[in-house]
């Protein structure tokens, strides 16, 4: 069984696609801010190496996407240690902070697979973008606006008339009784 896997792996690794993917990953690292060519090669090799471990599960079509996904996962895993958070929004903010050069020479640490120094990690956490401040909620109750309606005065008039009729009737009855 393992022989078959090995065979498959070798097959994929020897294809031009593997090389092209490797180059694309290198380029992706450059775009992520890894300036040193050698570091890009090391990192892309690491990505491809991780992939080759389970290449039996990867189709040819899938390879480039899996490689890119792996590259991002690698960076996110490393970042989550520094940020002490794994939320995708926080990790994305962390990537922005890294790319903007908050921590100098971070690729060295990343290539060596060592976490960021404490001071750097704190600086990174401080540099995370906060698009909105912490919530400071206030209730805003919906107001009642009583619109003018003809119904109200008509009802009032009707009731008034009713009361007047009753009073009149009562007065007539009283006057009849007294007479």
């Amino acid at each position: 069984m393992s022989k078959i896997f090995r065979l498959l792996e070798n097959t994929l690794e020897t294809t031009p696609l593997w090389q092209e993917t490797c180059q694309r990953v290198q380029w992706y690292w450059r775009m992520q801010g890894v300036r040193d060519e050698r570091q890009c090669v090391v990192l892309s090799d690491r990505v491809m190496d991780r992939l080759s471990r389970h290449s039996q599960l990867i189709t040819k079509q899938d390879l480039p996407y899996r490689a890119m996904e792996e590259a991002q996962r690698m960076l996110n895993d490393w970042l989550s240690l520094a940020l002490q958070d794994q939320h995708p929004a926080v990790l994305a903010a962390g990537r922005v902070a890294l790319l903007k050069g908050t921590v100098r020479n971070w690729p060295d640490r990343f290539v060596q697979e060592t976490p960021l120094a404490t001071a750097d990690a704190i600086a990174l956490r401080h540099a995370l973008i906060h698009a909105v401040p912490p919530d400071a909620t206030l209730p805003m109750p919906t107001q009642v606006i009583e619109l003018f309606s003809l119904q109200r005065p008509i009802v009032a008039l009707w009731r008034g008339l009713g009361r007047a009729v009753l009073a009149l009737r009562h007065w007539l009855r009283q006057s009849r009784v007294s007479s």
Binding site: L17, Y28, A131, V132, P133, T137, M140, Q143, V144
Partner: protein
Amino acid sequence: MTPRPIPMTSHVLRRMVFFSLTLITTLIAMGLLISVYQTDGISPLEVVLLFLYVVLFLWICASFWTAFLGFFVCLRGRDRHAITATTPATNSAALVIEARTAIVMPIYNEDPQRVFAGLKAIHQSLRETGLAESFDFFILSDTRDPDLWVEEELRWYRLCEELNGQGRIFYRNRPQNTGRKSGNLADFCTRWGGAYRYMIVLDADSLMTGPALVHMVRMMERNPRVALIQVPPVPVNRESLFARILQFASCVYGRIFTAGLNYWQLGEGNYWGHNAIIRVQAFTECCGLPDLPGREPFGGKILSHDFVESALLRRAGWQIWLAYDMGGSFEEIPPTLIDYAKRDRRWCQGNLQHLRLIFARGFHPINRLHLLMGVMSYLASPLWFLFLVLTGIEAFIQSRGEPIYFFGESFAPVWPVSYTVEMTTVLIVTLTFLFLPKVLALILLLKDPVQRRLYGGRFRVALGVLLESLFSVLMAPVLMLFQAKFVMAILLRRDVGWPAQQRGDRQTGFKEALLAHAGQTLLGIAVGVVSYHFVPNFFWWFIPVLLGIVLAIPVSMFSSNVALGQVTRRWGLFLTPQETHPARVLILLREYLDQSAALAQSGGNPFLLTLKEPCANALHAALLPNQGIDRRRRHHLEGLIYQLLDYGPDSVTATEKRELLAHRETWLRLHLLLWADLDNDHPDLSVDNLPGAAG
């Protein structure tokens, strides 16, 4: 120490003066017209005409007496009851402001370049006061356009970087723009309002100087019963002839109108929707707007929220003031007549909706008057139109009538009495009330040598007023027809189909002018021919109205011309103080706009940039709120991803782009799929053309 409250006698006296003058002059004009009509008994048509005239004259009268009283306030130099009198303006940073203030700018599909350049200018001006630490900025985006959305994010981030504004300049885009602008502000108040004592509301094209912002906060601090202070914005920065004339008119005449308004409204002022400071606690307690019963146009969401919010604040006992003499408050106006009409279209429905609120229970009478004035600013147009049509019919009937010289058995002839004097008096009074405020404003300006110089000198400013008056005569009937059409369309629940408003300078082309004004021109010609044929005497009286309508197309095109606006500026015509001696914030805006224009040219499409470039992509992902989605939606988004990848970004609609952008997981997946697409040679989607690409 809180300032002494204004005595009740001042309130009563000022309002008595204003309302008495308005009512007495209306009654006199009505009397004159009745004396004309009653020659041979008043016909039903004349009763209608009389009614229309009284309503319209009342409206003109209120405006005239406001300006007249404002003229005297300005002549005296100050109003001792003005809100600014309670707190002197000072630039001293030593007077620390303890209260935190949020400067909020609700935006909806606006030009991000202008929005962020404006904010940067305001921020810089505020920083120069030394009190910027007391203020936070909020860009409250309701933008639906996906390209603009991501551009806003990129510009916000850049602004934070440039100004070191992280934690003080905030940005959020609402997933749903429920309740439009008022909903946007309500969302701010309920989520973050607790952290701020005041908020200063700005529009996308608003500008305020740092000293003005600080002064507003100080006035609020000194007057704890005041919930809102409105600072009248002065229109600036446009260069087309149309806009320059409007800017000039607003600068020259605006002062006496706002001074007059403040004279009689005092603490029962109004809110104009932007360039105002609001006490957050009071606003949240009183201004949660309900939906009106029934369906549109009169039911549903309250569209013009500002007038209603001020009425609600007043109902709860808070004061609202107009700081008419403060300065440092600016806005930009539509550049062409057509854009101006488009803005009117948006405002018209909201203002007509106020018809239902005028008699709402508990509102202060002055607030009812504000609501009525808002309604009348649009309803006056169809009423004028009706008045003119009925006057034509009345003239036709009069021209057909044969005079009767002998009644009964009398031998002496009864000569028809001429009422030319009375009729001419009515006309002269009406025209005087329309044009005298302009003369008063000119007198005031000519009196002040400093102001005179700022407007280009005595001769130029007088010529400017004369030309502006002629231009307004041409414009008035065109705007009347536009507004009458909008009112009718709203009442008939019809969409008149105006696209989004254009804010930057641009020129009206022939096709656009033809589409907008062809109907008006034809109507003008038809009315001219009919009146000339049937009532020639009336035709000559009618010429000023007809001229504007018949010439609408060339005037609209001609006035939109930016080059012509610049030429008049070189000649020193229609100059405003903000052109001759601009405020620092306006200079900063120009500078930042130039800088950001250069950046925009090198930036490319922001949507594609955010899709491909890892940093921009991560930035967008970081700003998205957490949203769970069901399986059905996930499949829908998956379909959109492949549609975009296979057929290019143009194959998906703006709404679909927004859907892709709005979900973090989908957006990150699309980014990776794009990078993984090794064979993609689509010019928009290939990552090969990213800056710095070497692969």
